[in-house]
């Protein structure tokens, strides 16, 4: 394998950062494959009671795919942007699959970061969160994206702000609002789980 995929990904990140749509798509594909593989690896390996750490996976994928030298902020942003989208998809798919075979008995608990745990506790599963996020995106794209970056790729608040091109203060305000909105949306759509 060597450096080849790393260089490839680093290039893609560069292209994606400078606005190439096809590079973004390719990047999504590469990241998707790697994350899927990693996630599957964990799920195969781990005992049922083990947890899947979303941002750990993203970081691991980053280490695997990206050659460490000369990665600028914009390139890094492209990667984590793609990773957030992909991780969301993977986790939601997985949660749905698990929900379908509830009686199968070997439910793998997916626990994301503590950040997400807040929602999980009330929302029962990731697909509700996914739906809520989609609803939020319809109202306010930026806030939904912010949540995605924070939850699914573990990007720090400061970096998220940079990626979205807003001030840290705005990002924090968005974050507060987004969480409040998601919380109320989730509680409304699944009243049974209300605390």
């Amino acid at each position: 394998m060597g450096n080849e995929p790393q260089t490839h990904v680093t290039q893609l990140m560069g292209l994606a950062a400078s606005g190439s749509k096809s590079a973004v798509d390719q990047l999504l594909d590469v990241v998707y494959d790697e994350l899927r593989r990693l996630a599957q690896g964990y799920l195969d390996r781990e005992r049922p009671e083990h947890t899947l750490q979303a941002t750990a996976l993203v970081h691991e994928a980053y280490l695997k795919l990206v050659s460490q030298q000369s990665v600028g902020f914009r390139d890094r942003a492209a990667f984590f942007g793609a990773a957030a989208t992909v991780m969301r998809r993977i986790l939601v798919d997985h949660a749905r699959a698990k929900r379908r075979e509830k009686r199968g008995g070997d439910a793998v608990r997916i626990v994301l970061d503590e950040a997400l745990a807040v929602f999980q506790e009330g929302a029962d599963d990731l697909s509700s969160l996914d739906e809520a996020l989609t609803a939020l995106a319809a109202l306010d794209q930026r806030k939904a994206r912010l949540v995605e970056l924070r939850f699914f790729a573990g990007v720090s608040m400061a970096e998220t702000a940079q990626m979205l091109g807003i001030s840290l203060r705005s990002a924090e305000r968005d974050w507060t609002l987004a969480r409040a909105w998601l919380r109320s949306h989730l509680d409304r759509t699944s009243p049974a789980s209300q605390s």
Binding site: D44, R103, V118, T134, S156, M157, L168, W175
Partner: protein, 1278 residues
């Protein structure tokens, strides 16, 4: 997703503004604000209130204050945007920290009462929180330290984790450990811990401020090690050892160290991962400098006591050099990923190197006004230039720390830089570096051993830690790339090469004397003085030899290796003290000691001695000297025993080269070296390269020193193993037999090598399915090994796993399981779980699970083993390939055929290339793949492959071999699938008695064969024979595997189907129901078998006319089919048709209609136009329409008439189609289908009569009533 509860849309931007404006106000003002801001806009008001409520819930979800605030007059803590008690906000707070925004402050202050404690004064604070001196009031009044954790964490979890450790913490009682007394939550919801109050300075500061000498530091540090050891024996790991957690106070003018915070790291950062790691680094640890590589790992966080050993190493490093191995500022500024990489990969400089680097760096970094270059060579110093030899520039080297010069550091240690560097170089370097090993198995196994080594150093005794050998360093380098070690196959095979080299027992004795003799001769030629020394040396050598021989397990047959170890340890010390200046003797004695350690299975103890012996002999006698080659051979034997293949190969190649150059190709030692190399190749799966080497070596050794010599016997065994690996069993057998006989004669019947010979032969029999011969042989060997070598010797453990495998393969799982467990535990304890032997045991366990049909449990074990093998051996090693096949097999067992086929197909080619076309493994898996093709209905591919596999297997093994029989069975199943029942029957009838003889009546394979034959009998209408066999099979399966097992459920299904077939529906029902429910539990809803049983059960309900019981099942079936199959698949149509039928029967005609239409549409696509199922479906659809008409005929006659008009042609077409295709309809159902079609027509006209009484349908009704009466009756139902 729209839903009814969704509030009316409001202006989002305005809502956002109002939300933030509201949050900026206190809770008191908020209500007024909301009212005034949107009093006249109710939707906005509702939306805002909801959002604010959501916000409150985000923040309150986490903590509920347990008591009222301490200061009742104060408003409750504001829950503003930075609400620090919230989990989410832990991340936000971390981000805030990164960007320099102020972190939230603490509300606890002196005077605050927390539970039983009153805070007195703040005594310290850090990233984690604040420490107060507090007064405990009850049950005793005393001063304690109370630590409030500052940043938001899940208090409940923290406390729960603490509670989990409380018992262990209570058991800790050590003068150098501060007791942790209590934990709880403050009123504001923060976790806190109460500890024994220790007033002191952090270890490093104390040492520096008091200018403690190196010795004083080491003594203090030793005490810390003992404290940590104490905790470790209580099962507690600190996880966060660092100077600030080791406080030193003066007690009677003596410094006493106390370790604080035990149990707190575990409670507060249980899950050190990714972001939390980085966050916590800053918040709780403050520096990653003490973090072990495994802690820096993202996942698989199994931190153990050895992480503490690492931290102790860092602590010692800092005590010695004043700096940590990696600079913490640098680590933090390197960024998260780079930091982890450094900790896991970079080798820090040795302490002495660091000191010399500091001194040179300090000089060269002198103020620029003195000139940029050091003015003299003297300033650079010899150490600095020597350091240039180090291949990699690492972070720590490159960044000498600001503010500490080596001069300061030395002064603080009562010495000067040069002297400090000298005292560090050597022993202390090695002690520290052994703690800092990346691979924790190479660290000190316990803190007490670290302390012991320090004590040894202080007493000027030889230490245990050793400089890494050149070989070791080479190995570390190659490890990053590939194949560090290898070799799996039969565990025992590994060990046989032990007899390759002259074992120390007999031959070494002779050689010791020769060496001493030679040494004496050399000495005589030199000086007079040497004479006496040589005599002395000889005496020492003899003495050691005698001492060791007296406790040799192979001689004395003793099981007690403790005595042996003690004597060896004494011997080691004497070598160090008495043999200095006698390198030749020292080399010989060290070789003896190393070989002895190896012979009692203490490989790690053997290595340093053998490495040292080789080094000494190479230096003194030269690389080409026979004794040096002998030392290499001894080391090679050890590497072989340790499965360190890359080392073994490198060494063997050198040996062959040197030996043939110096001693000649024909020399015995050259031949041995060649055999070693051949064995290394065999181990690596390079069979073709191995064969000429082993064959040539054996032929030469047979001539000289003769067939009875142990070296010849060893080569014989190695060649036999090669043949076995290659599947050339007939060639292997005579060699194994000859070697075993030879070893019995030459070494005795209880000799460890003889015992291995027995196991080898036994496992060859196993490969040939000769279980009756294999099992007693292996069992006997195990018993003898346990007696001669002890239960935990690696030979014994390996045999244990082999015997377990034999049991498992014969279906004796209760016997297999404990053996496996003991073997695995033993292996892991001895060599760690990444060792090839442990992995082979893991595979054995997986095989055993698979044999007992516990596929789901087997799969992850195979994957774990496979991953390890791929890493260690590469993708194309025979063992890796074999495990890949196993994994493919288990996937097929789980009916995940796509994955299985892909894996088989991609593995067969490399397997053919590596093992040859006719290797037993290749044949076996060819047959398995063909079987899967057949199961998927791909007979065109399945048949030729299976026929070929069977032919080759027959040729290799004859009929009576499990693989041949498996192929026979698979071929029969394929014929059965093609309705070639007579061919299937003849094959199975032949296989069954062979299975019974080979594996017994209760073995799963026998049972499978039995069930298959029964099934074929059923197809051939030989129902009595079928029932007898099926009943026997079910009883035997229950006995062998228990009630709750997929195989048992399958047997139940089979018998239920047979009852159904014979019309005994009442007997079939409970059995079928149990089979379905059980299989569903065992394998899940999506499993192919589960779905099959579901269908069977539903159809049985049809037979029993229990349509409403069938209905929910059929709904499940339809859902399963739809989710698993592409649209338009015939199986979807079948499910639609069956559900439609059940719905008609239960009167749900309206619901049946669309299902039947869909069913018909699919069947029109996929069936020939005259197929009876088309007619049947058409008639059913007509029935659904007519039924709906009947339901509305009284209320809406017009609508009814329309339905009827549509139904009539369908019903007529259906009926005539059934008549036309009557021949195709299964005999059993023919009469009923036709009858029902007529009944539906009759019902149509009866309804029509009610809808339109005057249209003459009465006559039609009469006509059809007459037809119905004329039909033969349907088969009567019980």
């Amino acid at each position: 997703m729209p839903d009814q509860n969704e509030p009316k849309p409001v202006d989002w931007q305005r809502l956002e503004e109002l939300f933030h404006a509201a949050l900026d106000r206190t809770e008191h003002e908020r209500a007024n604000f909301v009212e005034s801001a949107c009093g006249n806009d109710p939707p906005m008001r509702a939306a805002l209130l909801e959002l604010l409520a959501g916000h409150a819930r985000v923040n309150s979800r986490f903590i509920n204050p347990v008591a009222s605030p301490t200061h009742p007059d104060q408003p409750p803590e504001p829950r503003c945007a930075s609400g620090e008690t919230d989990l989410v906000n832990a991340a936000a707070a971390a981000a805030a920290l990164v960007t320099g925004t102020t972190p939230p402050t603490l509300t606890e202050r002196p005077g605050t009462v927390i539970g039983r404690y009153k805070l007195l004064q703040e005594v310290g604070h850090g990233g984690f929180g604040t420490v107060f001196m507090a007064e405990q009031r009850e049950p005793v009044v005393r001063k304690v330290a109370l630590k409030v954790i500052k940043l938001g964490m899940d208090t409940r979890q923290v406390i729960a984790r603490f509670e989990a450790e409380r018992q262990a913490l209570a058991m800790m009682d050590h003068p150098n450990i501060a007791r942790v007394l209590d934990a709880g939550a403050t009123d504001s919801g923060r976790p806190y811990f109460v500890m024994e109050l220790v007033r002191g300075d952090p270890l490093t500061r104390f040492c520096d401020e008091n200018c403690l000498s190196l010795r004083q530091r080491l003594e203090l540090f030793s005490a810390v090690c003992h404290a940590v050891q104490h905790a470790h024996t209580k099962g507690l790991i600190h996880r966060d050892l660092k100077p600030s957690n080791v406080l030193v106070t003066m007690h009677d003018d003596k410094p006493v160290a106390k370790v604080i915070d035990f149990g707190i790291a575990k409670a507060t950062h249980d899950r050190l991962t990714d972001k939390t790691l980085f966050t916590e680094l800053r918040q709780f640890i403050g520096t990653p400098a003490y973090m072990s590589p495994e802690q820096a790992q993202l996942s698989g966080l199994d931190i153990d006591t050895r992480s503490d050993i690492y931290a102790l190493g860092v602590l010692l490093y800092e005590l010695l050099t004043g700096t940590t191995p990696f600079d913490s500022h640098k680590l933090l500024s390197a960024g998260y990923d780079e930091m982890r990489r450094i900790i896991r990969e970079d080798e820090p400089p040795k302490p002495s190197t660091r000191i010399s680097a500091l001194s040179s760096a300090t000089f060269s970094r002198d103020p620029p006004r003195r000139g940029a270059l050091p003015s003299s060579g003297e300033q650079r110093g010899p150490q600095f230039t020597r350091r240039g030899g180090a291949s990699r520039l690492n972070l720590a080297d490159a960044t000498p720390l600001v503010g500490s010069s080596s001069l300061d550091i030395a002064h603080q240690r009562h010495t000067d830089p040069g002297a400090l560097c000298r005292s560090l170089r050597g022993d202390l370097d090695w002690i520290v570096m052994k703690c800092l090993e990346k691979d924790r198995t190479r660290r000190y196994p316990a803190a007490s051993e670290l302390a012991a080594d320090i004590q040894r150093y202080l007493r000027d005794e030889p230490i245990v830690a050793r400089p890494p050998s050149a070989l070791y360093q080479l190995r570390k380098l190659t490890a990053r790339h590939k194949a560090l070690v290898a070799g799996m196959m039969t565990v025992l095979l590994v060990l046989i090469a032990g007899i390759m080299t002259t074992s120390w027992q007999a031959v070494t004795a002779r050689r010791q004397r020769q060496i001493a003799e030679r040494q004496r001769q050399i000495a005589e030629q030199q000086r007079d003085r040497a004479n006496t020394e040589a005599v002395k040396a000889e005496e020492v050598a003899r003495f050691l030899q005698d001492m060791l021989a007296s406790v040799d397990p192979e001689v004395a047959g003793t099981r007690d290796t403790t005595l042996m170890r003690e004597i060896l340890e004494k011997a080691v010390k004497r070598v160090a003290t008495e043999l200095t200046g006698q390198p030749a003797v020292e080399g010989a004695v060290l070789t003896t000691i190393g070989n002895t350690y190896r012979s009692i299975g203490r490989y790690n103890d053997a290595e340093p001695h053998l490495v040292q012996a080789l080094e000494i002999r190479g230096r003194v006698l030269g690389a080409d000297h026979p004794d040096t080659i002998d030392s290499m051979l001894a080391l090679a034997t050890l590497y072989h025993a340790q499965c360190r293949l890359a080392d073994l190969e490198a060494l063997a190649e050198t040996m062959v080269e040197v030996s043939s150059r110096v001693l000649g190709e024909q020399h015995v030692q050259t031949r041995c070296a060649m055999a070693s190399l051949g064995e290394a190749y065999r181990f690596e799966g390079r069979y073709r390269e191995a064969e000429p080497l082993l064959l040539g070596a054996l032929q030469a050794l047979r001539r000289d020193p003769g067939p009875a010599d142990r070296r010849t016997l060893a080569a014989m065994v190695n060649l036999a193993l090669l043949y076995q690996n290659q599947g050339r069993y007939p060639e292997a057998e005579p060699l194994f037999l000859e070697a075993l006989e030879g070893m019995r004669r030459a070494l005795g019947p209880d000799d460890p090598h003889t015992l291995i010979g027995m196991v080898n032969l036994g496992m060859l029999y196993r490969d040939q399915s000769r279980y009756a011969e294999a099992q007693p042989l292996v069992a006997e060997a195990l018993e003898l090994q346990a007696r001669v070598l002890g239960e935990t010797h690696s030979h014994t453990l390996a045999t244990m796993a082999d015997l377990a495998q034999l049991h498992a393969e014969r279906g004796e799982f209760e016997a297999a399981e404990p053996l496996y467990r003991r073997a695995l535990e033993g292996q892991r304890r001895q060599m760690g779980d990444q060792h090839p032997l442990a992995i082979s045991v893991l595979i054995g366990i997986a095989n055993s699970l698979r044999l007992s049909a516990r596929y789901r449990e087997a799969e992850p074990l195979y994957r774990e083993a496979l991953e390890a093998q791929r890493r260690m051996l590469g993708d194309e090693h025979p063992n890796t390939l074999s495990t890949t096949f196993d994994l493919a097999g288990v996937l097929a067992d789980l009916t995940r055929y796509d994955e299985a086929v892909a894996l088989y197909e991609q593995t067969l080619d490399p397997a053919r290339r590596v093992l040859g076309d006719e290797h037993p493994h290749v044949l076996r898996h060819m047959s398995r793949l063909a079987d899967i093709y057949a199961q998927r209905g791909d007979y065109a591919r399945a048949e030729p492959l299976q026929v070929k596999a069977l032919e080759l297997l027959r040729r290799s093994f004859g009929e009576e071999h499990v693989d041949t029989l498996a192929s026979l069975n698979a071929l029969a199943l394929m014929y059965s699938g093609q309705q070639r029942y007579h061919e299937a029957e003849s094959l199975l009838a032949k296989a069954l008695p062979l299975y019974r003889r080979l594996l017994g009546d209760g073995h799963r394979f026998t049972l499978n064969c039995m069930s298959n034959l029964a099934m074929v009998y059923q197809y051939l209408e030989r129902l009595d024979e079928a029932e007898a066999l099926t009943t026997e099979a079910l009883a035997a399966t229950r006995r062998a595997l228990g009630e709750d097992n997929p195989e048992t459920y399958t047997s139940m299904n089979n018998l239920a189907m047979l009852y159904t077939r014979r019309g005994r529906f009442g007997e079939a029902e409970p059995l079928m129901l149990a089979a379905y429910e059980g299989q569903r539990r065992a394998l899940g809803d999506k499993n192919g078998d589960t779905i099959q049983f579901l269908t069977n059960l539903a159809l049985l309900y049809f037979d029993l006319s229990k349509y409403s019981d069938a209905e929910p099942l059929l709904r499940r079936l339809l859902a399963a089919r739809r989710s698993a199959l592409p649209q338009g698949h015939p199986s979807i149509a079948a499910a639609l048709g069956q559900l439609g039928y059940a719905l008609l029967k239960t009167g749900d005609d309206a619901e049946a209609e669309p299902l039947l239409r869909e069913c018909l549409a699919i069947r029109e696509q996929v069936l020939p136009p005259d197929h009876w199922l088309l007619a049947q479906t058409t008639s059913l659809l007509g029935g659904a329409l007519a039924g709906q008409a009947a339901n509305v005929v009284n209320t809406d006659p017009a609508a009814a008439a329309a339905k009827l008009a549509e139904a009539e042609p369908l019903l007529i077409e259906g009926y005539s189609g059934l008549l036309r295709g009557a021949e195709q309809i299964p005999a059993r159902a023919r009469a009923q289908r036709t009858r029902e079609a007529v009944q539906r027509l009759l019902e149509l006209y009866d309804t029509w009569v009610s809808a339109a009484p005057n249209d003459g349908y009465g006559g039609k009704a009469l006509e059809w009533r007459a037809k119905l009466a004329a039909l033969p009756p349907a088969e009567s139902q019980p």
